[in-house]
């Protein structure tokens, strides 16, 4: 945007202006799994104030959400529900992985825990930490914003990413 400016007229491409609008209205899914969800709530609360990024509208229904923050340990019992929620979200959608557990299993290298949700979901941004402080989550959100701005949704055909149908375990 802002490529040419004269007499109050702004010239831009449709792709850029839509991306700009999308960037500031990402609605996350209210979806807490474990410890990281507490830090996610802290990020949404008064001090860190996620509303600065246009994300204060946490949606409890996946059908209204744009972004899934996988906040916490994904167990093998929970995995089908996580995948189902992802499938219910309308396109375009983004996935952010919060914390070591969802990234790689973290300290829970046990029989019950999925060792990284990226085997099953196309992840956009990983936020490390156990749990990551709210500042780290906000940094991850700015990274998602960068990614949205680079999204060539109009000129490039949207490719559906296929992930294995069968759930391990």
């Amino acid at each position: 945007m802002g490529i040419e400016e004269s007499g109050g007229i702004l010239v831009t491409t449709l792709e850029k202006v839509v991306n700009w609008a999308r960037k500031y209205s990402v609605w996350p899914l209210t979806f807490g799994l474990a410890c990281c969800a507490i830090e996610m709530i802290c990020t949404a609360a008064s001090r860190f104030d996620i509303a600065r990024f246009g994300m204060e509208a946490y949606r409890p229904s996946p059908r209204q959400a744009d972004m899934m923050i996988v906040a916490g340990t994904v167990t093998k019992k929970m995995l089908p529900a996580v995948l189902r929620l992802y499938e219910q979200m309308p396109d375009p959608k983004w996935v952010m992985v919060m914390g070591s557990c969802a990234t790689c299993g973290g300290i829970f290298r046990s029989y019950a825990v999925v060792q990284g949700i990226d085997k099953y979901l196309p992840v956009d941004v990983y936020v490390p930490g156990c749990p990551p402080p709210p500042d780290a989550l906000l940094y991850g959100i700015t990274k998602i914003h960068e990614k949205i701005m680079q999204d060539k949704w109009l000129t490039k055909k949207y490719e559906h990413i296929k992930f294995p149908k069968k759930v391990e375990g």
């Binding site: 799994l33 474990a34 830090e39 609360a45 008064s46 409890p60 929620l85 825990v113």
Partner: protein, 389 residues
């Protein structure tokens, strides 16, 4: 008129289930006929993982059992291991630091409960007020340990790091100010007619039912059962502090709300006493077979070798078994450790308060409205990692 029973699946993804609880509810109209909790969505195998780790390396795992009160869990574990090893006395300063941190954790947990419980029942404002105060506690932990949610600073034989300069005064200031700020929360909720309608007479438990179900913590004290392990079976020298154990009369959600508020005030009271008595001195026992030597001395071979052995191999605990219980914010937290004389525990069983308290929900929800179910989940104050471990 035709009556039909609707089966409703609440969770595992639901904004009011405080995590990944799944409730199988059968409804007749809006009235709950039966409510069956399905747990295990956050079972991470912590007890099994602890069997393959040395005693020290299990401390981070225990902190993640009840993630709203991380330090309270590792405190229970560390005390159990100390009792297994026969360590009866730790340096005074370490003991007071443990008390201060445990009570700060209790306040943090109850503040988060107040925020979410209010939010579930439609009161949005307490969430922002309560989390503002909770952030101050998180700042204390970050200053002390470098980590917000899980300080992970309790060790067998003491604490790993001393309070930095000036933190005691900050904590004292906070403990003096919080009861005043809590008056604001009370003006928002305590006499609010909507809040009273949603909570009074909901989830009534008698003393006998509390004993039958084995409930503990505010769930038990709400029904007038005087059971606080800090008083009944004192640990960490809690008997030397003056505090009141608040008791409810009606045993309903409203009483438990008042009790948790009063517990926060009493925790402030304990913190003030502990900060005033906080002595100078060591923070770790000098038995380097089990306790880490001071970090600044580890360059010296005399300290380096025990430190190395402790990190790599861990210490051997005597053969035997131990049960130690503490008063976690949500109730009685017990650690049962069986040792076969090696560096690893043979079996660890964690008796978590949420797991025991959750079972009463089937009884409480029966015959109530569906909207009361949300109030009941809030009043039991469950954390799903605490339920499933």
């Amino acid at each position: 008129m035709r009556k039909e029973i609707i089966k409703l699946n609440v969770g595992p993804q639901h904004p009011s289930t405080h995590g990944v609880l799944r409730l199988l509810v059968e409804l007749e109209g809006e009235v709950v006929v039966s409510c069956d909790p399905d747990i295990g969505y956050l079972h991470r195998g912590i007890e099994k993982l602890m069997e393959n780790r040395t005693y020290h390396r299990s401390i981070p795992l225990t902190e993640r059992v009840d993630y709203l009160a991380g330090a309270a869990n590792s405190l229970g574990y560390v005390l159990a291991v100390e009792r297994l090893l026969g360590i009866s006395e730790i340096p005074e300063r370490a003991r007071y630091i443990r008390v201060i941190v445990a009570e700060l954790t209790r306040i943090a947990s109850h503040l988060f409960w107040l925020a979410t419980h209010g939010h579930d029942l439609g009161a949005m404002t307490p969430l922002f007020y309560a989390l503002r105060d909770r952030e101050i506690i998180m700042d204390f932990f970050e200053t002390w340990a470098g980590k917000r949610l899980f300080p992970n600073m309790f060790r067998v034989g003491g604490v790993a790091r001393d309070f930095p300069d000036g933190l005691e005064q900050e904590i004292k200031k906070f403990a003096l100010e919080l009861p005043q700020r809590m008056r604001d929360y009370e003006t928002l909720l305590t006499k609010n007619p909507i809040w009273i309608n949603r909570t009074k007479g909901v989830g009534v438990l008698t003393k006998e039912e509390v004993l039958d179900y084995g409930l503990s913590g505010p769930m038990a004290r709400g029904s007038g059962l005087n059971f606080d392990i800090r008083r009944v079976d004192p640990y960490l020298g809690y008997d030397e502090f003056e505090f009141v154990v608040p008791l409810g009369e009606n045993g309903d959600t409203y009483d438990r709300y008042l009790i948790r508020l009063e517990e926060m005030r009493q925790s402030c009271n304990i913190i003030l006493q502990a900060v005033d008595r906080l002595p100078k001195g060591d923070i770790m026992i000098e038995d380097y077979q089990v306790a880490f030597p001071p970090k600044d001395k580890v360059i010296n071979g005399e300290y380096l070798i025990p430190h190395y052995l402790l990190v790599v191999k861990g210490f051997k605990a005597p053969k035997g078994e131990i049960f130690h219980h503490t008063e976690a914010p949500k109730g009685e937290l017990g650690f049962y450790i069986v040792s076969d004389g090696s560096e690893h525990p043979y079996r660890v069983k964690i008796r978590t308060p949420s797991f025991v308290n959750l079972q009463v929900i089937s009884k409480l929800a029966k015959g109530r409205l569906l909207s009361d179910l949300i109030a009941l989940i809030g009043t039991i104050d469950i954390v799903l990692a605490d339920v499933d471990r």
